[in-house]
Every structure is written in structure tokens, then in C-alpha cells.
């Protein structure tokens, strides 16, 4: 087993990997950019090293710097998390050259899957079902127009090196194509350092369902069930669940077997995810393979009882997969909410800044994978994901009501979060019935009648609360508007005494 693992990431996923390392008795090494010195992953690691400026290209994407730290501190493996360098075949190769084990698939597998066009060619050979489109990067706007006209609008532009919605554009008409292509290319260049973009038929309001697979170095590959990831905004997943309300055991088996076939065709080792588009008739089409841990891996962990990060590490260390396909025991239901620093009342604009107050949910069936803490200033440079709230229950209805309860316990002040969005989702009848697709969030009414009624009803409570704060503030300061004890750590009763002593009450 490894002695020391460098975690080439930040935020909640770095914390997640550090926890797994600790549970395996492996020392963990954090790396951090200038704005992340006080980030949670740095606080929680065993060792930590600065790797440069805030811009990811000068720190979390800087391969030589990261490898230099790994060798200086004696790390024998690197976990890339998701995003950043996790699907960068050059990085995997550079690790191999430096004799540091990359915890993930080989550079060759990553490279094949990393180029969506090449992946498509290989997977078509292996008989995997596909959505019609180009299997190569677009060379010109004219070519794009021609292909789009052939397969018919709407079409989807996608970054060949992409993932997570970056560099993706839906195009509904030929007139939109030039500006959309330019935007997609520039976003792809900025996000992945590669502007290659391809085109395929857009399936309107499909479901997005993915299958977790995992394989060891000895050719054993199994699937661990699907995740329903249809709730997306701007192609960014927002809420995931497992199992999918759509998928029955037979469909699960078929998808699982295709996913394993995909992995085998790529000689894939370690944890990976095969994404499918599913249409209204339950047909599924291969979308891409994510050659890394997914953000939403916890929902699979909850329903299988497995620890995917620990399995990743064990497999990378050369262990055999510890269970067979028939030993995968799926039980119950799980959902994950991605808590983003964004303002749902203001077009979901990012909301970085200082977390002034933070109350986190807990109790039965609640798991929180967080990358932040009260007092931490969320920087503007990175992904707005603050934390993942994952809940599990006996079945889907219990999981939903538990999630609603946990969200009610979640409180953040100082920055805005999308918590209120989930309240609307969980109250929606289509959602409750499992009728979801990638257009769900767009159709979801922005107004929340329940919240508005509650707001009206409780306005006098807010008034009373405000007045109590005024009284408490004045009780020790003597002023009428000072920043008194109600801010500080006042005892529950001490202010009352003080107020009485000063004749204020």
C-alpha cells in the first residue's frame, strides 16, 4: 500500500480524498494556491505545500510544480480528484515517467476517452449505441453548418476535451451556429487548454443517466449501479440520485453490461463513469466516459455501502477488486445536492465571499462532504461548489423528505447559495413522481408560493427578532444601535442581568 498520497485538487473532493487516506493509514499531502492557504483541504491534510498563484493554470493545473512537490515530499501516489488534471492524459503520463502512481486509469485510456471524437470511433467499433453526429472535431464553420443541416437542428456543440458543461452549446438554428461555435471554442480553450469542438444531434429533454464502473489491473471490471443526473442547469449537474426512478433491474443490467463493455474496450482500470443519454422510450445512447471519480460518487456509495475512493486507492496500489458483480448489494435510495455559492434570486450569479455563519445538517441518513467552514472566504477563481449534501433513506419518498429536513437545517450567511432551489425541486410534483429530464430545471417555476406565503406570515417574527437584537445590543453597550453582546459570545442569561442592572428592561 502507498505510504503518502499527494492530492492534486482543492475543495470538498480534496477533503474527501484526505479522509480516505487517513482511514487507510496513508499520509496525505495537500497542495494549494495563494488564495487557498486557509482552505479546508489544507487544514485537514498531514502536509501542505504552496504551488503558486490563484489562477488554476499557475497552480492546480501546473504539472511540473505538482510533480516537483510530490518528489520533494516523497509521495508515492497522486490522487487527481475530479476536474483540474484528473482527465489530462499528459499528467497521467508525466506521473508514470516520474514513477509516482497516478490514481486513475492509464494515460492511454484517458487519452482515448478524453478525446470525445476518438472515443466515439472506438466505441462505435465496440458496438456501443450512439447519438448521431460528427465523430471528429469540427474544422470549420462551413463543415459545422453542413453536418448540422444533415442531422437536423437542434444540435449540440461539445468540447472534445470537455466535461461538466464547459464549452457546450445548444444550437437551435443555423443563424446561431457561428457565434455559438466561437463561444464554445473559446470556453473550451480557457477551461481545458484545447479548443476542439464537435457536434451531434441534440436529443430534447433527455434523461442523463450514468453507470459507475470499476476495474482492477487484472481485468476484473464490474458496474455499481446507475445515477440519475438529469437535474442540470447550464449543463451543470445540480442534484443526483441513485437508483434512477426510471431504471428497472433489467434495464440496469443492460446498461451495466454496456458500461463494462465500454470500459473493457478502453482497457480501463480504476473507477470510471459511463454517461448515457436516455430518451423518452428508455433507449440509451453512449455519451462519454468520465475517466475519473465523479462529483456525485457518494450516492453510489450510499446505496452500495462501498467506499469508492478507498477502492480507487487499493486498485492503484495493485490490489485485486474485493468483490464480484453478484456481491454488489444495492439497498435503499440516495440523493445528493450540490450546494453552490450562487444567488438563486439573481440569475444564479456566482456569490463568492466570506462565510459569516454556517450551520450544517446532521442526524440520521445525512452525510455532508464539505470544503468550507465558517469564516472561510470562498475565492472567485474556482468552481462555486461549497459542499455536497447527501442523504439516504429506505426508499425514494423517505429520501426526499429526509433531504428536505436536512436542507432546512442548512444555513449559510455572508454568501448566497442555491439551497432554496432545492426546496422548490423537492416540492415539485413531477420530481416527486420521478418525471425528470435535463429540461426539468428550466421548466421549474422560479417562484415558490410556499416560501412567499411563509415569508408574509412570519414578517412580524422578523420584526420581533430584530427588536430583540436591538434590546440585546443596547443592554451592554448603552447605545441604541451599537454592535453589542448579541454578536459576542454572551451567556444565555448574562445579558438579561446586564439589561436589568442598567434599568433597560
Amino acid at each position: 500500500m502507498f505510504k503518502k498520497i499527494l492530492v492534486a485538487n482543492r475543495g470538498e473532493i480534496a477533503v474527501r480524498v484526505i479522509r480516505a487516506c487517513r482511514e487507510l493509514g496513508i499520509a496525505s499531502v495537500a497542495v494549494f494556491s495563494n488564495v487557498d492557504r486557509a482552505a479546508l483541504h489544507v487544514l485537514k491534510a498531514d502536509e501542505a505545500y504552496a504551488i503558486g498563484a490563484a489562477a488554476a493554470s499557475e497552480s492546480y493545473l501546473d504539472i511540473p510544480k505538482i510533480l516537483e512537490v510530490a518528489q520533494r515530499c516523497g509521495a508515492d501516489a497522486i490522487h487527481p480528484g475530479y476536474g483540474f488534471l484528473s482527465e489530462n492524459a499528459k499528467f497521467a503520463q508525466a506521473c508514470a515517467d516520474a514513477k509516482v502512481k497516478f490514481i486513475g486509469p492509464s494515460a492511454a485510456s484517458t487519452e482515448m476517452m478524453g478525446s470525445k471524437t476518438r472515443a466515439r470511433q472506438e466505441m462505435e467499433k465496440a458496438g456501443v449505441p450512439f447519438v448521431p453526429g460528427t465523430s471528429r472535431g469540427l474544422e470549420s464553420i462551413d463543415q459545422a453548418k453542413k453536418v448540422a443541416a444533415e442531422i437536423g437542428y437542434p444540435v449540440m456543440l461539445k468540447a472534445a476535451a470537455g466535461g461538466g458543461g464547459k464549452g457546450m452549446r445548444m444550437v437551435r438554428a443555423a443563424s446561431e451556429l457561428p457565434s455559438a461555435l466561437e463561444a464554445a471554442r473559446s470556453e473550451a480553450q480557457r477551461a481545458f487548454g484545447d479548443s476542439e469542438v464537435y457536434l451531434e444531434k441534440a436529443i430534447l429533454n433527455p434523461r442523463h443517466i450514468e453507470m459507475q464502473v470499476i476495474g482492477d489491473e487484472y481485468g476484473n471490471t464490474i458496474y455499481l449501479g446507475e445515477r440519475e443526473c438529469s437535474l442540470q442547469r447550464r449543463h451543470q449537474k445540480v442534484l443526483e440520485e441513485a437508483p434512477s426512478p426510471l431504471v428497472d433491474p433489467e434495464m440496469r443490467r443492460r446498461m451495466g453490461e454496456v458500461a463494462v463493455r465500454v470500459a473493457r474496450a478502453a482497457a480501463y482500470c480504476n473507477a470510471g463513469t459511463v454517461e448515457f443519454l436516455v430518451d423518452a422510450e428508455k433507449n440509451f445512447y453512449f455519451l462519454e466516459m468520465n475517466t475519473r471519480l465523479q462529483v456525485e460518487h457518494p450516492v453510489t456509495e450510499m446505496i452500495t455501502g462501498l467506499d469508492l475512493v478507498a477502492l480507487q486507492i487499493r486498485i492503484a496500489a495493485g490490489e485485486k477488486l474485493s468483490l464480484k458483480q453478484e456481491e454488489v448489494l444495492v439497498r435503499g435510495h440516495a440523493m445528493e445536492c450540490r450546494i453552490y455559492a450562487e444567488d438563486p434570486d439573481n440569475n444564479y450569479f456566482p456569490s463568492p465571499g466570506r462565510i459569516e455563519m454556517l450551520t450544517e445538517p446532521a442526524g440520521p441518513g445525512v452525510r455532508l462532504d464539505s470544503g468550507v467552514y465558517a469564516g472561510w472566504t470562498v475565492p472567485i477563481e474556482y468552481d462555486p461548489l461549497l459542499a455536497k449534501l447527501i442523504v439516504s433513506g429506505q426508499d425514494r419518498p423517505q429520501t426526499i423528505s429526509r433531504l428536505a429536513r436536512a436542507l432546512q437545517e442548512f444555513f449559510v450567511a455572508g454568501i448566497k447559495t442555491n439551497v432554496s432551489l432545492f426546496r422548490r425541486v423537492l416540492a415539485d410534483e413531477d420530481f416527486l413522481a420521478g418525471k425528470i429530464d435535463t429540461g426539468f430545471l428550466e421548466r421549474l417555476p422560479a417562484s415558490d408560493a410556499g416560501a412567499e406565503a411563509e415569508k408574509k406570515r412570519n414578517a412580524d417574527v422578523a420584526a420581533i427578532g430584530a427588536a430583540v437584537f436591538v434590546v440585546l445590543d443596547s443592554a451592554t453597550r448603552g447605545g441604541s444601535n451599537g454592535g453589542g453582546t448579541a454578536d459576542a459570545r454572551a451567556g444565555v442569561s448574562s445579558w438579561k442581568k446586564a439589561a436589568r442592572a442598567e434599568g433597560l428592561m
Partner: protein
Amino acid sequence: MICKVAIDGTGYRLELDGESGGWRCRVNGQEVQMDAVLAQPNVLSLVIQGRVYQVRRERRDSGWRIWVGDICYATEVSDPKSLRSRKLRGDGEKGPRQLLAPMPGKVIRLLLSENSPVEAGQGVVIVEAMKMQNEIKSPKKGTLRRLAVVEGAAVNAGDVLAIVE
């Protein structure tokens, strides 16, 4: 103690009184059975006629935010002048309107040039933050009177990006 507060712009007059063993509270002259304790800094537990409320305070430059559970109220206390001044701040359709940066970030693109006509909802500036490109749109139809930023500029939340007239 008499205290005036405005909750989302609506004024309330409160009389609060603490005796041994409890509080007395009147809201707009009407008696309300209420108890309050400060559980944590800026976190109150209120019990009003048996019902429990968790009330939190967040101090902002513009006043307080008072949270009842997860519902947020813009709150101003004890300063009638600021109430009045807020009402005077034009939010109407007439006159020049400012485009403000809704979050800190970097201006990566100016979509219009000064003095061009602009539709309501048309994009004016793109600000990148947290790896996302955010199009800042005009709140009204008119003319882009001024662009206050250049491409590449770093902006803070609330900074003026442009003025539409």
C-alpha cells in the same frame, strides 16, 4: 424599550420589556406572548405563542438581514432617516440606470460600445467568476450612456459596470 423596525420596507413599532422569568412584547400596540434567548452570537431562539422560531442576524453594509428559519428579510432598525432615503432611491423605469456587478470577477468581454442603442434584457458585459461566464444584461431599453469598465478589469460586487439611459 420602544423600537421601530422596517421589515422588507414595512414598518413595525415594538415595545419590549424583560421581567424576571420572561418578556413582554407588543407589536404595533398588540400584546404578543413571546420569549427570547440568545443561543449563539447572532442566533436567537424565539417562542411566540408556543411556536418556535430560529432568528438569525447578518450584518450588511446596507442594514441587517434578519432570517426567520431559511427566509430572509431586509431589515432596518431605529433610523427613520434611512427608511426614507431608501424609498427615494430610484428603482423605476425612468431615468438613468446603473448596471452593477452582481459578484466579484473579471470583465472578459464588452458586448456593446458606448452610445449604442440597447434593448431591455440585452447583454452588455460578460463577467467571469468561479469558472462561469455571466452575461450582465440591461435592465431597460435605451442607450448605453457609459461603459465604466474595460476588458480584463477585476470588479467587485456592486461596482458600476455601465449606465443605460
